[in-house]
């Protein structure tokens, strides 16, 4: 079974536990799923299926758009007001103070929209980097505070988790031309990933590329509200031009830093990798949220020397992503002829139109894709000066390439994960394991042993029964203890057949051919007794095959009663369509419900049924049944109409326990159930050669064989499970 490790005491808990069994602390204490979140019809199950039941409501994709947009609207004025206040007062930004969680922008407080593991990270790790960042902020913030047009400074921090790759899908590209997305990117918060439904590990690394290495890390919270509304609009799918237009206009002030950045000279030179020590912690923390990144960190160490970091350089970017991990549209862009931004263009390439390159695409353009092409352009222009290829243009250089490429970064294989990350990685693995468990059940693996087991058990049973039936060893003792309901049955039959007037019995035949073997065997002795008393038998059935089975039954019983004239004393009223519903009609008026015999003759004018108009005119009702529901209908609907006529039941063993309540309540006068009841009846009648007696050896042997097999199976599989559990422990 899956387990959850308590983040407090480390003890294991069942996967469905909400609080730790050892320390009694909540396993999800930082997960605040809001109450009454509307469930999106039909989609929650998919989350459940993915093993993220508790997250299902939290997923931004499942959250109700209406409510989200409403939240967004309620949040926007706050940050707008703050920004505007800053603009007016030129006061130090309030973000300099460490933010309390309550003060965090809406997208952070919207825990409900977040998967648990993200919430954990958010609640546990975010505040600290915020404080650290705010410590670092003042210098550059102060410098920026002097710029009127820059109420919010361009943050060099890349936004590793921002859902920017979604933007081209959600918004028209031409719409995005209107503002520079790079600015937004720069201004993104490291806390951003927690707000995103997408896995940050799938983001293109060049999201980070435009960050000037010389800029210190910024306080991301300043710009967080901007991203907040953007994310919300992107997620809620509000069409651009409407509600989006206004924030875009307001963001025009973001252009200067962008312009400033584009003025940075593109460099094909080896960038200076930033020293890890100089990097703020939040950069690492921001990587923490996604489980994929936890796995990714196994092959990539952000803090390892020699590796670059987001914001540490322009081209020399760490890309834990493989090409196949990129979205198609990004791959397409890579494959397309290079249309770089001005800052990357080498000399001679300036004829390419700048305007064709949207800002957002520029921001996301993988640097790896750009750099080799830059070299290629140089190569194409170079003319070989010496050797046999002298005078040719575009000859591959023998030595130049080496100088253009830096030594590939060495990625550390050492995984640097915190305990929490490990816990969540384990949890994630468990969830995946759970996901694959169902639908590809263990049965698939155990099919062969199961078929073998079935074959062995089947052959064993068949051979054993055949052997006993053929040899008739006589090892089984006939029952001497007789159930009281069988005694009552026997007594009733004896009383009625001993009467001066031969009784007339309504025989309700309500069993399927599948159990005709059992019921025919049991009831033959009973019918023989009725026939011995020259009883009149009127058969009726609510089963389509009932009339045929009744004829067979009478034929079998009549063999032992040669004096009995079946043609006169037996009448077959046929089949009552409508099943149990027809029984109410039968109880009310049998002459109308079953007017004719199977042969089409008028039943109630016959010698046997002459003068009868109601069910209560019968001396007894004998029900032969293999079915609880129909039995109930006979008991509840026909018995009350039968007056004092006793209701006798011959039932299959499979319904006997279900009919016991009616025996106890007296609604059933007497009952013979299964071979056991049949044997009891034959014991009472002292019949030396009853049909049940002939099968008794096989029956008792078979029952004991099944019990033994069941016991062995329980022991074997029980021990197996016990051993397996011990091994696991």
């Amino acid at each position: 079974m899956s387990e959850i490790i308590c983040p407090y005491c480390g003890s294991t808990n069942t996967i469905d536990a909400l609080t730790c069994l050892s320390c009694n602390k909540s396993l999800y204490d930082d997960v605040e799923t809001p109450a009454g979140l509307p469930q999106q019809d039909g989609m929650e199950w998919l989350n459940t299926f993915r093993g993220l039941e508790s997250d299902s409501n939290a997923s931004p994709s499942t959250a109700e758009p209406g409510s989200e947009s409403a939240d967004a609207e309620s949040e926007v004025p706050e940050w707008l007001a703050r920004i505007r206040a800053r603009k007016v007062e030129e006061a130090p930004p309030p973000e300099e103070e460490p933010l309390e969680p309550d003060e965090l922008p809406s997208f952070i407080n919207q825990d409900a929209d977040l998967p648990d593991w993200i919430k954990e990270i958010k609640s546990g790790d975010i505040p600290q980097p915020l404080e650290e960042n705010t410590d670092n902020i003042p210098d550059w913030l102060k410098s920026l505070a002097g710029e009127d047009n820059l109420p919010s400074p361009p943050a060099p921090s890349a936004m590793p988790g921002i859902s920017l790759p979604d933007i081209p899908n959600d918004l028209p590209v031409e719409g995005l031309d209107e503002f520079n997305f790079e600015a937004l990117t720069e201004k993104a918060s490291p806390i951003g990933p927690v707000d995103l439904p997408v896995d940050t590990s799938e983001l293109p690394d060049d999201l980070f590329d435009d960050i000037p290495a010389d800029q210190p890390p910024s306080a991301p919270d300043i710009d967080r509200p901007d991203l907040d509304w953007l994310d919300e609009r992107i997620e809620t799918g509000i069409p651009r031009g409407g509600p989006l237009a206004q924030p875009l206009d307001e963001l025009e002030w973001l252009n200067p830093p962008t312009t400033k950045q584009t003025e940075l000279s593109p460099s094909t030179e080896e960038p200076e990798p930033a020293e890890p020590a100089q990097l703020p912690d939040w950069m690492f923390e921001s990587v923490e949220p996604t489980a994929d990144e936890i796995a990714e960190s196994a092959k990539f160490d952000f803090a390892a020397p020699g590796s670059s970091l987001p914001g540490s350089g322009d081209e020399e970017l760490i890309s834990p992503l493989q090409e196949e991990g990129l979205p198609d549209w990004l791959l397409d862009d890579e494959a397309a002829p290079l249309v770089p931004g001005t800052e990357y263009l080498p000399e001679g390439s300036s004829d390419i139109e700048e305007a064709q390159m949207p800002g957002w695409l520029h921001a996301m353009r993988p640097v790896e894709a750009a750099a080799p092409n830059l070299i290629a352009s140089e190569e194409e222009n170079r003319i070989e000066a010496s050797g046999p290829l002298a005078g040719y243009q575009g000859v591959l250089p023998g030595h130049g390439v080496v100088t253009h490429y830096s030594k590939p970064p060495v990625y550390s294989a050492r995984m640097q994960v915190t305990d929490k990350q490990r816990i969540y990685a384990t949890l994630f693995e468990t969830l995946i394991a759970d996901e694959t468990r169902v639908g590809a059940p263990a049965a698939a693996n155990t099919t062969t042993p199961q078929l073998v087991l079935r074959l062995v058990v089947g052959l064993l049973m068949v051979i054993a029964l055949l052997g006993v039936l053929i040899l008739q060893p006589g090892f089984a003792v006939f029952p001497t203890l007789v159930p009281p309901e069988s005694v009552a049955f026997y007594d009733t039959v004896q009383t009625l057949t001993a009467a001066a007037t031969p009784p007339r019995v309504l025989v309700a035949l309500d069993y399927d051919p599948s159990l005709s073997g059992e019921l025919r065997t049991i009831s033959t002795s009973v019918l023989e007794d009725w026939m011995a008393g020259n009883s009149g038998l009127a058969f009726v059935s609510i089963s389509p095959t009932g009339p045929a089975l009744a004829a067979e039954l009478v034929t079998a019983a009549a063999v032992q009663s040669p004096a009995y004239i079946s043609a006169e004393r037996v009448i077959n009223l046929g089949y009552l369509p409508g099943g149990a519903s027809a029984l109410a009609a039968l109880a009310n008026d049998p002459t109308r419900t079953a007017p004719t015999t199977m042969d089409g003759l008028s039943a109630w004018d016959s010698l046997l049924l002459q003068g009868m108009t109601a069910v209560s005119d019968f001396d007894a009702i004998l029900l032969l049944t293999d079915n609880t529901e129909n039995s109930r209908a006979w008991i509840e609907q026909v018995k009350p109409a039968a007056g004092n006529a006793p209701l006798l039941v011959i039932s299959s063993a499979q319904v006997a326990p279900a009919l016991q309540p009616y025996v106890q309540s007296g609604q059933i006068t007497g009952m013979v159930a299964g071979f056991m009841g049949g044997a009891a009846y034959e014991q009472l009648t002292q019949s030396p050669s009853g049909p049940v007696r002939g099968y008794w050896d096989a029956y008792q042997g078979g029952m004991l064989l099944i019990a033994a097999l069941m016991f062995i199976g329980a022991v074997v599989f029980g021990i197996k499970k016990f051993v397996r559990r011990n091994k696991k422990a």
Binding site: T446, L453, L481, L515, T545, E552, P657, P661, A707, L709
Partner: protein
């Protein structure tokens, strides 16, 4: 609202039938009887329609371009022969009864026999499939009742309290059965009411 006419018919017919059961006064009672009779007739017609549909499904399977299902042809032939014979001879004819007693009975009874093996294997594998104390109790109960049902204990009439013990053990399942049956009745009540309230409209296709 989806299928308003059908919904009205279902609710109206249902309420009349229900009232006729609880308040047996004229003309509700006769109306109820009539509605039930109509329902039985319609169930019969629905049965025929469904049988035709069953045949069409197997006809399609048999005539499919790919993966032809040959056994479907046997189904169609068996149906055609039985139906033709039945229409000519009528159901009461001895030959038609032979179809039941010599074809349906052997097949159905043999399938029931196979079920004995299936259930035995299921009982053996019970603890492989699932553990837990409910399964354990189930297994113990089944084992005990198999022994009781075999008649082994009933052969020892000399043991003084055995009869009482057997009677007490046999009474135990009654309590659980009652609980389950009452629960099912409650479920049936609410499910039926959902139809009568128009919440469930399975006929609105």
């Amino acid at each position: 609202m989806r299928a308003p006419l059908s919904t009205a018919i279902a609710i109206g017919a249902g309420i009349i039938t229900l009232l006729g059961l609880f308040i047996p006064v004229e003309p509700i009672t006769s109306l109820r009887g009539r509605l039930i009779e109509w329902a039985v007739l319609l169930a019969g017609v629905a049965g025929l329609v469904a049988i035709v549909h069953l045949l069409s499904v197997h006809w399609r399977k048999m005539t499919a371009r790919r993966n032809k299902n040959i056994p479907s042809a046997f189904l169609l032939i068996a149906f055609a022969l039985t139906f033709a014979a039945g229409m000519v001879l009528k159901p009461g004819h001895p030959s038609m009864q032979k179809i039941v007693t010599h074809i349906q009975v052997p097949i159905e009874a043999s399938l029931m026999g196979v079920l004995a093996v299936t259930l035995t294997v299921a009982a053996i594998r019970l603890f492989q499939r699932r553990s837990g104390w409910m399964s354990f109790l189930f297994a113990v109960s089944a084992f005990v009742f198999l022994i009781i049902g075999s008649g082994l204990l009933s052969s020892s009439a000399n043991i003084p309290v055995l009869k009482d013990i057997l009677a007490a053990v046999n009474a135990l399942p009654v309590a659980g059965a009652r609980g389950i049956l009452i629960g099912i009745a409650l479920g049936s009540l609410t499910t039926g009411l959902r139809v009568l309230l128009g919440t469930d409209r399975p006929y609105s296709g």
